[in-house]
C-alpha cells in the first residue's frame, strides 16, 4: 500500500497506476495487440518468427485464468473472503456463452438437427425453456452476467448476513460448486452431461478456428484483463477499497465506526463472481470446450493457489501467479502428468510457509533490500 494518502476517483482509471504500472501496461498492450497478433497473422508458418495457433490459444486461455485470479484477489486479498467455489462462476459464464455457441452450430452437427447433438441423442424434440433466446448473442451475454449476479448475490446475502466467515464460508462455497457439478453431470439437466459443450463451428458467423477469429478473441481477452486490472486497482484505492480492507482486518472496529460489512462484502463478492464468469465466457470459444470438470472442487482450489503463489492483495500478483502456475502445469502435465497434483499441493505448502506474500512480495523485498540506503 502506498504511504501517501490519496483522493481516489474511478474516472481517472489510468491515474490509479504508478509509473511502473503504466509502463507494464503499455508493454503488455504492445505484445498482446501488436506483436503476437502480427506474428501470427502476417508471417508464414515456416518462418522462425511465426507465432503458432497453440501459442495464441494458450495465451488466451492463461489470460482468462489471470482474469479469474484478479477477481479472486479482489474478494480474498482485499475482502478477506476466500472462495473455494469460483469454478462455479467460471463455468456458469462458460455455459451461458456456450449455449450461444451450441446454437450457432445450426444444422452442421452430427445429427444435422436444429437441436444441439446431445439433445437429439437424448431424444428431445424441442429446446427446454431455459435455452430459449440462446441463439441471440446479446441474450447469451446478458446471461453471462445475470446468472452469476443472481446466484452470488443471493448466496452472499444470506451468508454475510448470517456472519458466516473464514473457513466456514470457504467450505460452503466448495460444497456449492460440488453440488452444481453433480447437477451438470446429469444429462437431464440439459447442458450436455459430462461431455458438456464442444465441437463449436462459428461465432457471430465467423469460423471459430480461423486465425483472424482466434486473434480477435485473444485481443478481446487481453483487453478484458487490462480492464479488470484497472477497475480492480481503482476499486481498491477508493475509499470503498480502504473500508473493505478495514473490514477484512478488524471487522468489529469497522462496524463500530458505522460501516455495515454486509454491503461491502456483498459488492466485492458479486463483482468478483461476474468478472470470473466473463472470463469463463471468453475461455469457451478459445479452448473449444466447457464441461462440468470446471466445477470440480480441485479447480476452485487451484484458483486460490494461483493467487497465493503470486501474492494476495496486490492484483498484479494474481496475474503473475496464474501465469506461473499454469506454465508449470503445462510442463508438468506433459512431463510427469501423475505428479501434478502432488506438486500443486507442495507448492501451496511452500508458499504458505515460506512466501506468505507470494512471488510479488518476495520481489518487493528483494528490491527494497537492494535499494541504496
Amino acid at each position: 500500500m502506498d504511504d501517501t494518502p490519496r483522493t481516489p476517483g474511478i474516472s481517472r482509471l489510468l491515474g490509479v497506476l504508478p509509473g511502473t504500472g503504466r509502463s507494464a501496461l503499455a508493454a503488455f498492450g504492445l505484445v498482446a495487440f501488436v506483436l503476437l497478433p502480427g506474428l501470427h497473422l502476417f508471417t508464414s508458418g515456416k518462418s522462425p518468427l511465426h507465432v503458432s495457433d497453440y501459442v495464441i490459444t494458450v495465451g488466451g486461455k492463461v489470460m482468462c485464468y489471470a482474469i479469474v485470479a484478479v477477481a479472486m484477489d479482489l474478494a480474498w486479498g482485499y475482502g478477506g473472503i476466500l472462495s473455494l467455489g469460483h469454478g462455479l462462476f467460471f463455468a456458469l459464464g462458460g455455459y451461458a456463452f456456450g449455449m450461444y455457441l451450441m446454437r450457432s452450430i445450426g444444422r452442421d452437427g452430427v445429427y444435422q438437427s436444429d437441436l444441439p447433438d446431445f439433445m437429439v441423442f437424448l431424444d428431445w424434440k424441442e429446446l427446454p425453456w431455459y435455452w430459449r433466446g440462446s441463439d441471440h448473442v446479446l441474450w447469451a451475454l446478458a446471461l453471462v452476467v445475470l446468472v452469476p449476479v443472481a446466484i452470488a448475490f443471493a448466496f452472499g446475502f444470506f451468508a454475510f448476513r448470517s456472519r458466516i466467515k473464514g473457513v466456514y464460508f470457504s467450505i460452503i462455497t466448495q460444497a456449492l460448486t460440488y453440488a452444481a457439478m453433480l447437477l451438470f453431470f446429469r444429462n437431464e439437466t440439459g447442458f450436455g452431461g459430462n461431455n458438456g459443450f464442444t465441437d463449436f463451428k462459428r461465432i457471430l458467423g465467423f469460423p471459430i478456428t480461423a486465425p483472424a477469429t482466434r486473434v480477435a478473441l485473444f485481443m478481446l481477452t487481453a483487453a478484458t484483463l487490462a480492464a479488470a486490472l484497472l477497475i480492480g486497482r481503482s476499486l481498491v484505492t477508493s475509499k470503498f477499497g480502504r473500508v473493505l480492507a478495514a473490514i477484512r482486518d478488524a471487522e468489529s472496529r469497522a462496524m463500530f465506526l458505522g460501516y455495515d460489512p454486509l454491503w461491502y462484502k456483498l459488492f466485492v463478492w458479486t463483482f468478483s463472481a461476474v468478472l470470473t464468469a466473463v472470463a469463463g465466457a471468453l475461455f469457451v470459444p478459445q479452448v473449444g470446450i466447457i464441461n462440468p470438470s470446471e466445477m470440480s472442487p480441485a479447480s476452485s482450489i487451484e484458483i486460490a493457489i494461483w493467487v497465493a503463489v503470486g501474492g494476495r492483495g496486490t492484483l498484479v500478483g494474481a496475474v503473475v501467479g496464474a501465469v506461473l502456475v499454469n506454465l508449470a502445469k503445462s510442463w508438468f502435465t506433459m512431463a510427469f502428468p501423475e505428479f501434478w497434483l502432488f506438486f500443486l499441493g507442495l507448492l501451496f505448502i511452500v508458499v504458505t510457509l515460506l512466501l506468505p506474500e507470494g512471488v510479488v512480495g518476495l520481489w518487493r523485498r528483494l528490491l527494497r533490500g537492494r535499494a541504496p540506503a
Binding site: A246, G258, D260
Partner: protein
C-alpha cells in the same frame, strides 16, 4: 431503523411516546436531560449473569466514570450499549426514542455512539491518516464510498486531529507500527472525528505513560459538556483527575454511585473492591 416500544418508565424523565412526534423514531431526542437509559439489563452467558438487572442513566454532557473489579461486567455493559451483545431482558434507550436493543452495531454507531475498545483497535495495515479518514463522520454506506473523495474541510479536520493526538509526524505510517500508547491516542482521535454524541471509553489509559495519562485526562475533561462520556477505568488516580460522578459496578449491577470520595468511603465498596 429503530422500532420504538415503550419500556416501563422507571426514570421520571423517560417518556418515549411523547417524543417520537417531535424527533421521529430513530432520531436522537435528548430533550429530557438524560442521553442514555439502561434499565433492568440482564445478560447471561451459560447461566452466569455478567449483568444482573443493571440500571444506569447518563445525562447529556455528563462525564461518568465506571469502576469495578475485573469481571464486574463493565465491558459487557458497553457491548450492550453498542449492539454487540443483546440483553436477555431490560431496556436500553439512547435519548428518548432510539431503542438500542433493536439496532445493529453500525446503526448504533451512525446514531451517534462511539466506542474505544479496551484493547486498542486500529486498522494496522492502514496509515494513521487513513484510519482517521475511515473513522470520520460521513455517509458510510457502501455505494457512497465507491466514489467518495476527501474534501479540504475533511483534510483540515484530520490534520487538526492529528495534531491534537500528537501523531502529525506519523500520518503516513502504518498504524500497526505505532507504540501502544500512540495506538490508544489514534483510537481516541478516530472517536473524535466520528463526532459521536456519546463516547464510551474502555480503559483508555491502559499502557500509557504518566505524562500521556495526564494529557488524556485533560482531553477527556475538555470533551465533556459538548459530548457525553462514559469512561471505564481501574486507575483511581486517573478517575480522580477526571472528577465527575462515579458508578461502582459489582457482579453485574450497581453497587454505589456518587462522588469519588463518598464512593471510596462506602463500606460495601471498600469490602468488594477498594479494600483489597
Amino acid at each position: 431503523m429503530s422500532p420504538v416500544r415503550a419500556p416501563p418508565p422507571l426514570h421520571p424523565d423517560f417518556h418515549p411516546e411523547a417524543s417520537i412526534d417531535a424527533a421521529g423514531p430513530g432520531k436522537l431526542d435528548p430533550s429530557h436531560r438524560v442521553i442514555l437509559y439502561l434499565e433492568d439489563i440482564t445478560v447471561s452467558f451459560d447461566g452466569f449473569r455478567a449483568l444482573d438487572r443493571l440500571t444506569l442513566y447518563i445525562d447529556v454532557g455528563e462525564l461518568r466514570c465506571i469502576i469495578g473489579p475485573n469481571g464486574a461486567g463493565k465491558t459487557t455493559m458497553m457491548d450492550v450499549i453498542t449492539g454487540k451483545t443483546r440483553p436477555d431482558s431490560g431496556t436500553a434507550f439512547f435519548g428518548q426514542t432510539v431503542d438500542l436493543t433493536r439496532m445493529s452495531e453500525p446503526e448504533i454507531a451512525r446514531a451517534g455512539i462511539g466506542r474505544k475498545f479496551q484493547k486498542p483497535t486500529v486498522f494496522e495495515r492502514h496509515t494513521v491518516f487513513e484510519n482517521l479518514e475511515l473513522a470520520m463522520k460521513a455517509d458510510k454506506r457502501a455505494r457512497k464510498t465507491l466514489f467518495a473523495t476527501l474534501g479540504d474541510e475533511a483534510r483540515d479536520r484530520i490534520a487538526d486531529t492529528l495534531r491534537l493526538v500528537r501523531l502529525a509526524s506519523e500520518a503516513g505510517r502504518a498504524a500497526g507500527l505505532l507504540s501502544h500508547g500512540q495506538k490508544q491516542w489514534l483510537e481516541i482521535g478516530m472517536l473524535l472525528v466520528q463526532e459521536p454524541k456519546l463516547l464510551l471509553l474502555d480503559e483508555p489509559v491502559a499502557g500509557m505513560t504518566d505524562e500521556e495519562t495526564d494529557r488524556t485526562a485533560e482531553l477527556i475533561v475538555s470533551l465533556a459538556g459538548e459530548h457525553s462520556l462514559v469512561v471505564v477505568e481501574h486507575d483511581m488516580a486517573f478517575v480522580a483527575q477526571l472528577g465527575g460522578k462515579v458508578t461502582v459496578l459489582h457482579e453485574g449491577s450497581v453497587l454505589a454511585e456518587g462522588k469519588l470520595e463518598s464512593v471510596q468511603n462506602d463500606p460495601r465498596v471498600v469490602e468488594v473492591y477498594l479494600g483489597r
